[in-house]
């Protein structure tokens, strides 16, 4: 092939559904536009820089970078490599050169929606959310979820906890313990955004019999009968679209993808997926209806959500 795309991940891909979607995206794009593709996995901040440099060095036409972790690096490297196009997914930078493009998601819109579901479904009026690590990005999930809950059930209390520890993104044991602790404190709807820890939360749900929500891809089959809904993030679609635009010569491309653009979603909103998804939400048509109503408000702008990532 005469084109060469490189996808640089910000962290180990592992079970991180989001990063795996990136991999799927680059492969789809490669197929669609006839390019060789490669994935460079980073494990540390230093790796990210070395990998971006390596991608340029190996002659990539388009370098796709997933995550705001790459902002500084792109600012440094892009001006020195005018022949290479850089696509940052998940974040945009100001004052960028022509060869830097971005596609961002509004995950908080979907998280807000699952919050709505949790707020309606809770019987104990106590819900919880576990995040991997207390970082701004994950507040897009935790805080938006909490806001969603409150919007339909002002009395409900939301317990926000973090996995933390030595290995926050892949510690099912600690994630499970957090979920168990929240359940013991009365929570019956728990949202998990813990990457590798999700499995631990599912385990807890099976043992203690509570309901969970998760992120990125349909995880309902992982704990049948316990997963209510999942926020979806269409990274692959976004990537293919954006790369197409870049190949057409677009400069400084900016794509912002929320519910409206189909960049994020939840199973409840997906008419064709819902029935076979294995998600519990399919059994609650009234909740689905409410979620679709709120989604509509968000899409037409009548309900404005703030990005929790910049809230603090």
């Amino acid at each position: 092939a005469d084109k060469f795309f490189v996808y640089v991940s910000p962290d180990q891909i592992g079970v991180n559904a989001f990063l795996k979607l990136g991999q799927a995206g680059i492969e789809q794009a490669g197929e669609k536009y006839g390019a060789d593709v490669e994935t460079y996995e980073s494990r540390t901040a230093a790796d990210r820089l070395e990998n971006v440099n390596a991608a340029v060095n190996e002659g990539a036409d388009i370098v796709v970078l997933l995550g705001f972790e790459f902002n500084d690096i792109v600012k440094q490297v892009a001006p020195t490599a005018p022949d290479t196009q850089f696509l940052i997914v998940d974040q945009c930078i100001d004052d960028r050169p022509d060869n830097v493009h971005c596609a961002v998601f509004r995950e908080y819109e979907a998280s807000y929606l699952v919050g709505v579901a949790a707020g309606m479904l809770t019987e104990s009026n106590k819900v919880g959310v576990v995040g991997a690590l207390d970082i701004p990005f994950l507040h897009r999930y935790t805080d938006a979820y909490a806001d969603g809950v409150k919007s339909v059930n002002a009395d409900a209390s939301v317990d926000i906890r973090w996995v933390g520890g030595e290995n926050p993104f892949a510690d099912p044991v600690r994630a499970k313990e957090q979920a168990v602790a929240m359940q013991a404190a009365g929570a019956d709807q728990i949202f998990t955004a813990t990457s590798g820890g999700d499995f631990g939360v599912f385990e807890a749900a099976k043992e203690k019999d509570f309901q969970v929500y998760s992120v990125d891809v349909n995880q309902c089959p992982n704990a049948p009968g316990h997963v209510v809904d999942v926020t979806l993030k269409r990274v692959d679609n976004a990537m293919v679209q954006a790369i197409g635009a870049i190949l057409e010569g677009e400069k400084k491309l900016t794509m912002a993808l929320g519910l409206k653009e189909g960049g994020v979603s939840t199973i409840a909103l997906e008419e064709d997926e819902l029935a076979d998804s294995g998600c519990l939400i399919a059994d609650h048509p009234e909740v689905v209806a409410k979620m679709r109503e709120v989604a509509g408000q968000i899409e037409d702008g009548s309900l404005k959500l703030e990005d929790p990532m910049f809230a603090k």
Partner: protein, 304 residues
């Protein structure tokens, strides 16, 4: 705060935190007493966790899973012995290499055998069922701790007095202590200290393997890359702190487990996660300072 501690799920969670740390630390203690500075407990635990899932998945019973984990740990012990004891590589370097090796091999075989990356979860993985102890489970406070736990926890509990007696009275225990203290003298007595150290490492592997099994087929039923997540290092600290004595080790592991379990429950009180994560280490330092202050006072009292 009081509610947190009185919460029965908190008490019940302590053994789940304690068991892997305790088992790994007991293994490390054997090495320590045999004069092998083994700080690769993290790698041993990880290999155990992976092998346990492997065995439990293919056999359909957690017992084979635990056995596989122990055998895998023992094999890793042999590798450690080959490079540290026989070839004389520095123990810290060998430990670090073993940790790398464990991370590499588990992820590699995860991909090679189960064709997944990151994590492997499958209903076919047979986990340990909780063992309920009649009568004991009704005891307030202690009941939820002692009853309803998985097999490795009870084995870990039994290991503590057993190892204590073993080191004090068993032929191999005696030799292990001698290998750690004055290997030259052991050699002059006609016993090869290197062989004793090899045996200690193998036993350490078995204990750590079981600890790994607790992580992957008792606490949860799945394997995630790097799922030991620093517990081996805590075990190393426990070993160093107690110089490998089983009973003190037990209490330190208990303390670490409880603080660890408590620390992220405290998040519920609104403390920043960075500070709750710091708690186990600060608690250790405080215990250390208190311990040596107490020792110094006692020595002074002794002398006068």
């Amino acid at each position: 705060m009081f509610e947190l501690i009185a919460d029965p799920s908190f008490a019940a969670s302590i053994p789940r935190f304690v068991t892997p740390i305790l088992l790994a630390a007991l293994g490390g203690a054997l090495c320590e007493r045999a004069g092998v500075f083994n700080i690769a407990l993290e790698g041993f635990l990880l290999v155990g966790a992976f092998a346990a899932v492997l065995g439990a998945y293919f056999s359909g019973t957690p017992y084979i899973g635990a056995l596989t984990a122990m055998v895998a740990g023992m094999a890793l012990g042999v590798v450690f012995a080959e490079f540290n004891v026989r070839r004389g590589g520095d123990s810290i370097v060998v430990s670090i290499a073993i940790n790398l090796l464990a991370a590499g091999l588990t992820t590699f075989f995860l991909r090679a055998i189960f064709d997944v990356t990151g994590a492997f979860s499958d209903p076919a993985i047979a986990g340990f069922a909780p063992i309920r102890l009649p009568f004991i489970e009704d005891v307030p406070l202690l009941g939820p701790i002692l009853s309803g736990q998985a097999l490795p926890f009870y084995l870990a509990l039994l290991s503590v007095p057993f190892l204590h007696v073993f080191l004090a009275r068993h032929r191999l225990g005696l030799r292990i202590r001698a290998a750690g203290e004055n290997p030259q003298a052991l050699r002059a007595g006609g016993v090869s200290p290197k062989r004793v150290q090899l045996l200690a490492l193998i036993a350490c592997g078995a204990l750590c393997g079981l600890g790994g099994a607790q992580l992957s087929i008792a606490n949860v039923n799945l394997f995630v890359e790097n799922m030991s997540a620093g517990r081996g290092w805590i075990a190393v600290v426990a070993v160093l702190l107690t110089r490998g004595r089983p009973w003190p080790l037990f209490f330190i592991a208990l303390l670490f487990g409880a603080v660890d379990s408590l620390s992220f429950r405290v998040q519920g009180l609104g403390l920043a996660q960075q500070f709750t994560d710091m708690m186990p280490y600060l608690a250790t330092l405080i215990v250390l300072v208190a311990l040596s202050w107490w020792r110094a006072r006692r020595a002074k009292g002794d002398a006068s």
